[in-house]
Amino acid sequence: MADTEEKSTSRITGFFSAAYKDFGLPRLIITGFVLFLFILATIMKMDLTILISDSLVRIGMNGVLVLSMLPTLACGVGLNFGLPVGVIAGLIGAVMSMNWNLQGFAGFFAAIAIALPVAMVAGYIYALVLERVQGQEMMVGTYVGFSIVSAMCMFWLLAPIKNPAMIFAIGGQGLRYTLTLDKTFAKVLNDFLAFSVFGVTIPTGLLLFFGLLCVLMSLFYRSKAGLAMRTVGSNPMFAKSSGMNVRYMKMWGVILSTVLAAVGIIVYSQSYGFVQLYTAPLYAAFPAVASVLIGGATLERATVGNAIIGTILFHTLLTIALPVTQTALRGADISEIARMIISNGMILYALTRAERR
């Protein structure tokens, strides 16, 4: 019946309403805002090539963190607000790799190799916690994230690392707040096969790495285990009656998300050029959560496409908002404010629309 109704309305409105339904109001608004900022930048004769180059870098460096939202959404645990668990594992990997003074790709992959087992164990323990609080995973995850960041502050201070470049100059004990990766693996991915077209620098390695993980993720979604994970998320009773192990699949979802977060922060750090310790990962989850939601993911359904589109929209917006508004408003910085409003507003919006069943 709905079909005939749609046919009767004119084709143009039909097209727009379909596009609107597919795309969703929030995405439409944000896309509009991004375009508006670009137009504004053009009018003010700003250098678009720099804006685009920066955006590409931001997309690549945040993409994997956003991707790490998918497994928990798939298995029904919800948005992984406990992302700092994985981030910490990644930071441990990065710090160890730096401590051994491994350089270039060796340093990057060593960081990942160390981070993986740490993330798996941490993810497993985190999954055990979440299992006990079914139905409130997102709330509890947020606090697990906060707690682990605080607890790790002590670890960073007491870690038995003697590399003078990494520890506080005075006192000789405790890692610095920010460690520079200049001498180890800063920008190894960004600079890998990088080239310029029309003045826009393409961080080829970074985008390739993100793309590779996206492909792997979408293949996983189509595998036996991936389908089981999605089934567990969308209808646990159906999953159970089809002989799937609901508990096991949920645990794997959490572990996978934690592992991706660990890889994500290493990618982020190499691109940024610094490893940020102590309270830096406190709010790591929020931009990632906001991105995937802007991409159109809901608590019931999230695809790799949602993660990609969300990353592109959210991070392009953040990247260009600062310089454009600074030029337009002569120095006022609404970038940080815009980030807060958009990311927290988006999370709020998505959560109020949840639990329709």
Partner: protein, 536 residues
Amino acid sequence: MAITEGNVLELEGISKSFFGTQVLKDVNLSVRPGEIHALVGENGAGKTTLMNILFGMQVIFDTGGFEGRIILDGVPTDISSPREAMTYGIGMVHQEFMLIPGFTVAENIKLNREPTLPNLASKIFGRRLETVDEEAMRADSRAALDKLAISIDELALVAGLPVGHMQFVEIAREIDKRSVKLLVFDEPTAVLTESEAQMLLDAMKRLASEGIAILFITHRLDEVMEVADNITILRDGEVVAMMSKAEAEVEKIAELMVGRKVERIELPERAKEPSDRDIVLRIENLSVNMPGERVRNFSLNVRRGEILGIGGLAGHGKVGIANGVMGLYPSTGKVYANEKELRLNDPKSALEAGMAFVSEDRRGVGLLLDESIEMNIALTAMQVQEKFLRPGAIPSLRLADEAAIREHALQVIKDLDIRCNGPEQLVRRLSGGNQQKICLGRAFTMQPEVMWVSEPTRGIDVGAKQLVLDLLVDFNRKHGMTIIMTSSELGELRKVCDRIVIVYRGQIAGVLPPDASDVDFGLMMAGKGAARREVG
């Protein structure tokens, strides 16, 4: 019809339909003070709807109201909410208890009607701050409980009481409302042990002798015979008989309650008839803890190649059997498929033993509503039997073979005549009948030896019902699939089954051939002749 003097309640020409389906047709009923009037009927006969009308439940108005009149004490009355029904002196003893576990018996009985004493604060801020008069509350509660001749401590917490006692607390609350003129008992003995049930029946008689009219809704014909003065029998929304106790016989009631024409069409012949020498599934002492549908010590042999029906009234456990064997609810006992013991409480073990299950909860358990038709059909077979997977080194990371899934889905859509836009359509958008066919298609994809089908025709329209039944017969005859079908609709069981098991209180009441008389079915479903067990 003239208004008869002296009736507490008179229902006159009540008709009601839900979305075009008539569930009540011109129902008349009258109750005098001090009369116990039994209202009997199968599930779906319309008893609940009738009570919803009497209590002015919102669901009635939301679905377009009803026709006919409610006359209380000779005055036609509009009852528009349960609260209003209460002010007219109509009380309800619920099937599910509406008690607060952390409160005492007395507090529950007097809930929201507590006797109070003024104090300083209440003089300033109003009546809501008056002190609760604990003494009066105790005394009132005691009086109400004594009226029922039950020795419950009125200061005990409800949480620790046995189920039977909670029922009495509920009744005590109703009779404590002094204005109560008519009490409705909705299946009050369903959860009681035999001695508790007897106490309840005695209490009912005592209340009636004090002039309270009682409307007693039940399936249990022996109880009807014991206490009722008059009996009204509902079937398919119509009053098929009204009789006094003197005229009533259990057999007659049972026949009237169940009886409807069963057109048993000739089913296709089989090459080999199922027999007791070839048992495909053996269930021994199965107990299933499924809320509302508990199974207790159920044993049964299923013959290879038969269509076995499981019938019985709601709440007696017929639905629990399939859910227990398939591992969805905690169960104990032994189940052997082809003489190999299954691991209970493990759906995978049941599925691997060659069984498939079509759940009674189609939308909740049976389908992934937001997935495509093809995924719904293929998923279980993929996960359990590794069908539709492309080769790969790591078993759990093998990719889905989308071409094979598509091909199979198209075949199923054609074979089962599923009306849809194509295999990619989301299941949520389909009609109930087509959704049910997808559930059947999914089970069928497993190529099971034994297929459990629960309530296959629930919530689908009449035409689709016949199609679903035809499909089941077809699976059975063409593929030799053993089918165990659970249904609340006795008529459809009698249409297609070879044998019908009737479940009563979680146990087998008996096994009947489909052409057994209505009386036999009615009696068995009502627990007559079946041994009743004291439950702890």
